[in-house]
């Protein structure tokens, strides 16, 4: 555990000392400030488009930090040679992978918490009880979303270059956010071998769409039922564990 904690601490310091996090934070502040300064026909109390943009911005920027940060961890260790003195210590390769995953989740969670906090301050100055519950659910779902993204990126980083990893992860993200509904409908409507093929794709791809509460939050719908929160949490745990297991196995076999 101390090895994992040591990796996480190292990654945290890297986050603090690199510019990415601050640049994106300032970008978010500027964009939110610009949006909140917009007036439309002197009408007061227009808030939903702000929530919509704000939530999208928070998710996207946190995702960018998460993916770009976790994608370069293992390849840069190998490229710079730091992996050798590291693995010469009493740590296993799967521990290194787990440490990188935990670090990526922690960094993403810190980033997301900060960004989400600013978003709430800008867009939810007067939240009712239902909205407060939905906000808590959105926060929780945001952290889970970034955990799955971290696991996926760490998994890809075992055998892909950083740029390929980032590109593929973003592609999967946009595909799932845009077309998972169509894929689901195709699975439901299909028959025989067709359903099997589509089903494999549907169940294997990371369901980033499960974590997207944008519409619900923007348009002030009711909070999600508890069973959905529990099911999505279980999905996150199982999916991340599966990816880390395979990442550990693949990295264990990798010739360094």
């Amino acid at each position: 555990m101390r090895a994992i904690a040591a990796i996480v601490r190292g990654m945290f310091l890297e986050l603090l000392r690199k510019k990415d996090f601050y640049v994106l934070f300032i970008l978010m502040l500027v964009l939110l400030g610009f949006l909140s300064a917009q007036t439309f026909f002197d009408i007061e109390g227009i808030s939903r488009y702000m929530r919509d943009f704000g939530y999208t911005l928070v998710m996207l920027l946190s995702f960018i930090v998460c993916v770009t940060f976790s994608a370069r961890q293992i390849p840069s260790e190998i490229e710079s040679g730091t992996v050798y003195p590291f693995l010469a210590k009493p740590v296993s390769r799967s521990m290194l992978v787990s440490g990188k995953f935990c670090g990526a989740v922690m960094i993403s969670a810190i980033t997301f918490t900060l960004y989400f906090g600013v978003f709430v301050l800008f867009c939810f100055t007067e939240a009712g009880r239902a909205e407060a519950i939905l906000l808590i659910q959105s926060f929780l779902f945001g952290i889970m979303f970034l955990s799955v993204a971290s696991a996926l990126t760490v998994f890809f980083s075992v055998f892909l270059t950083t740029s390929a990893n980032v590109a593929i992860t973003f592609l999967i993200y946009f595909f799932m956010i845009s077309f998972s509904d169509l894929l689901r409908d195709a699975v439901l409507a299909g028959k025989g071998i067709e359903t099997l093929g589509l089903g494999v794709v549907y169940y294997l791809l990371p369901h980033f769409d499960f974590f997207d509460l944008r519409v619900r939050l923007t348009h002030a719908w009711d909070p999600l039922p508890l069973w959905v929160v529990a099911a999505v949490t279980a999905y996150t745990v199982v999916y991340c564990a599966g990816l880390l297991f395979f990442a550990g196995r693949l990295f264990g076999r990798k010739k360094l």
Partner: protein, 248 residues
């Protein structure tokens, strides 16, 4: 005398099919406890592959090897090993102190003891003044010094050094030699590979000469240097052995 490293008929190849390249072709080697062991060979002789196998970074394909009687691939076996790689661009955004703290933490060293040891090591390698600077601002020599310090963080019983003196200034080299000798005096083992034959000659007790994945000679350094009845340099002896093996 108790042996620290035992290597038997070790074989290792990279790639497969036509691209297969045999890095080690059945080497056998024993390194006893206490003393400085020089591991010599030209480029591509198999030195770094052997070291990676000793550290469990690679797994043996044929043959066996053990360190302190254990399998290096098991993390526990590496508790008493310190390793300095040939080239390592350590985490650029950390300071040397933070790097040593991270590595010390992995070894489970008590945090109070660790802080003291970090200061001691940074002082010893001569970078205590730059301890608060991020390593992205360091020169190659400074990184080598940090690399040497991190190899000593767990007060190892076996110190493995891969080309340790590259990029170091003469003062730092001297310091490194002194540390190696002091470790030998504490009955610890130093295993190091180097191209700098004069360095090896200055500190080693035993040496092994490796070429094309095979151990050509292994024994006491003093024995090699006076093999023909007259004193010769290690460089002369090394070239003679390597050229002989190329012809043969």
């Amino acid at each position: 005398m108790e042996s620290v490293i035992e290597i038997r008929d070790l074989f290792h190849a990279y790639g497969a099919g036509k691209k297969k390249w045999e890095a080690l072709r059945g080497i056998t080697l024993t390194v006893k406890k206490g003393g400085i062991f020089g591991f010599l060979g030209p480029n591509g002789a198999g030195k770094t592959t052997t070291i990676k196998l000793l550290l469990g970074i690679l797994t043996p394909q044929i043959g066996t090897l053990s360190v302190f009687g254990g399998i290096p691939a098991i993390p526990r076996t590496r508790m008493k090993i310190g390793y300095m790689p040939e080239i390592a661009d350590y985490y650029r955004y950390l300071t040397p102190g933070e790097l040593l703290y991270m590595y010390g933490d992995i070894f489970g060293i008590d945090r109070k003891i660790l802080t003291g040891r970090i200061n001691e090591l940074l002082e010893m390698v001569g970078i205590s003044e730059s301890a608060g600077r991020q390593m992205r601002t360091f020169s190659r020599g400074m990184k080598q010094k940090v690399s040497f310090a991190q190899a000593l963080i767990n007060d190892p019983d076996l110190l493995i050094l891969d080309e340790p003196t590259g990029g170091l200034d003469p003062i730092a080299r001297k310091k490194m030699r002194e540390v190696m000798i002091s470790l030998r005096d504490k009955n610890k083992t130093v295993f190091f590979s180097s191209h700098e034959l004069s360095e090896v000659e200055l500190v080693s007790d035993r040496v092994a000469i490796l070429n094309k994945g095979r151990v050509l000679k292994e024994g006491l350094l003093s024995g090699f240097l006076s093999a023909k009845g007259e004193k010769q340099t290690l460089e002369g002896y090394f070239l003679e052995i390597i050229e002989g093996s190329e012809k043969g």
